[in-house]
């Protein structure tokens, strides 16, 4: 859920953010002046309630609970400078309990590989046509998660830290433009196709996913940045095959739509290899906004370490 804000925070490659492994968005990790970077992200997520197939919101009862904690390892390489290669793998614990059922699952999530190509940097204010920065990205999700083994589940098809159970291939973009030096507006989107899987013991094809995020970043000082973003995720109906192996049939009423508000703060020093960030996301429990999914609140803390590219390392030492 927090990946979009990661993309926003990092678009101009000055601040690091902390996306969860299950999230869409064209997030970046390695700054423009770095060759490598790694990050460890800890996320705690608590469900607030569920939206049914018609968008009606049902809050969890006093005996209900749905929570997860995730540790996500992200590693990135920038080579050449305009292309970033990023891998992500998480380990999560998921718990669900209601009056009649208790479930607890622990395991690795899916592996995500991303490639992000910076097409152009943001124009300079003195240029006649002050264009935003623009980057394109590709995503490949490999279903290594524990979901594929034990059919454990999570916060819907967009938020299952233990995996989707399906291969996913996506493309996206992000763009950013400064209004004033301290304020930047950002826009990002990612579409993904999910391939047929058999995680339920019969053929299933999750609906395609579209994520879109719009936000703003405020940089009140040289070491602090704050981000506010609105994010929407749309997932189409699931198609399911019969137990006898016959063809897939779309199941109306299984589509998902989720709106989220994301608030982030990042602390960094341009001369330091370390940086950290804190991100809070909240899915408003307002009926009709979201459909067929879980509303949750999540808090994420990230610590990242970046290794400067050779030329930049030399420049860093002379400062």
């Amino acid at each position: 859920m927090l990946a979009a804000v990661g993309a926003l925070l990092l678009t101009s490659s000055r601040v690091s953010a902390c996306p969860c492994s299950d999230d869409g968005g064209t997030s970046s990790l390695v700054r423009d002046d770095e060759r490598y970077a790694v990050a460890l992200v800890a996320t705690s997520r608590h469900a607030l309630g569920h939206f049914d197939a018609f968008g009606q919101y049902h809050a969890l009862g006093p005996v209900d609970g749905e929570t997860s904690e995730e540790l996500l390892l992200r590693a990135g390489l920038r080579l050449p400078r305009r292309v970033e290669w990023l891998g992500e793998l998480g380990y999560a614990s998921y718990r669900f309990h209601s009056l009649s059922r208790v479930e607890a699952h622990t395991g690795v999530g899916d592996a995500l590989l991303r490639a992000r190509w910076t097409l152009r940097d943001e124009g300079m204010p003195h240029e006649s046509l002050w264009l935003p920065s623009l980057a394109l990205a590709g995503l490949l999700r490999a279903p290594l998660g524990a979901l594929a083994d034990n059919r454990s589940a999570g916060f819907g098809s967009g938020g299952a830290q233990l995996g989707l159970g399906a291969w996913e291939l996506g493309v996206g973009f992000d763009a950013a433009r400064s209004l004033v030096p301290e304020l930047q507006l950002m826009l990002g989107a990612e579409g993904a196709y999910r391939f047929e899987d058999h995680v339920l013991g019969r053929a299933r094809r999750l609906g395609p996913r579209l994520d879109a995020t719009v936000g703003a970043r405020l940089m009140p000082s040289a070491w602090l940045a704050g981000t506010f973003a609105l994010r929407a995720r749309f997932t189409a109906d699931v198609a399911l095959g019969n137990g006898d192996g016959s063809g897939l049939q779309r199941l109306p009423g299984t589509a998902e739509r989720l709106w989220s508000l994301v608030l982030g703060a990042a602390v960094y020093d341009r001369n330091s290899k370390l940086r950290s960030s804190l991100t809070l996301s909240w899915d408003p429990p307002v009926g009709s906004f979201s459909v067929g999914t879980t509303a949750a609140a999540a808090l994420s803390v990230a610590l990242a370490y970046g290794v400067p590219a050779p030329n930049d390392a030399a420049a860093l030492n002379t400062r």
Partner: protein, 125 residues
């Protein structure tokens, strides 16, 4: 691929019709006619079904073997084999639909040793 995905997302997000709680169906292989009634109000937790079965053609005594439920996007599953045969048909109970949302129920049937099934959606508030 992007265009196809976008179209599918938009089409797939159209508002669905509410699932019926009482309906008549013909099984997947055409062997059995099934009248299925889900006890209302449907609730999160244990639910009951009343099922009446008869051969679609010819004679025989169809039986209800199990009821499976799946929420396919979330990979949730529920299952019951607690099935009683009554004068009116079959009564399946303790089907734990523990999550709000749309589930797909599948009734595993048998007619003279031939397996068959019927499926229907159900909305859990």
């Amino acid at each position: 691929m992007t265009t196809a995905a976008l179209t599918a997302v938009l089409v797939g997000c159209s508002a669905p019709a509410p699932a019926e709680t009482s309906l008549s169906l013909v099984s997947e292989h055409g062997l059995v006619d099934a009248d299925v009634r889900v006890a209302t109000p449907v609730k999160r937790g244990n639910n009951e079904l009343f099922v009446s079965l008869r051969p679609h053609e010819g004679s025989g005594a169809p039986s209800l073997l199990a009821v499976d439920a799946v929420m396919p996007a979330h990979s949730h599953e529920a299952h019951t084999t607690l099935i009683d045969q009554t004068d009116e048909g079959f009564h399946a109970s303790e089907l734990d639909l523990f999550m709000t949302g749309r589930w797909l129920l599948t009734l595993e049937l048998s007619l003279d040793g031939e397996p068959d099934s019927v499926s229907l959606p159900i909305d859990v508030p």
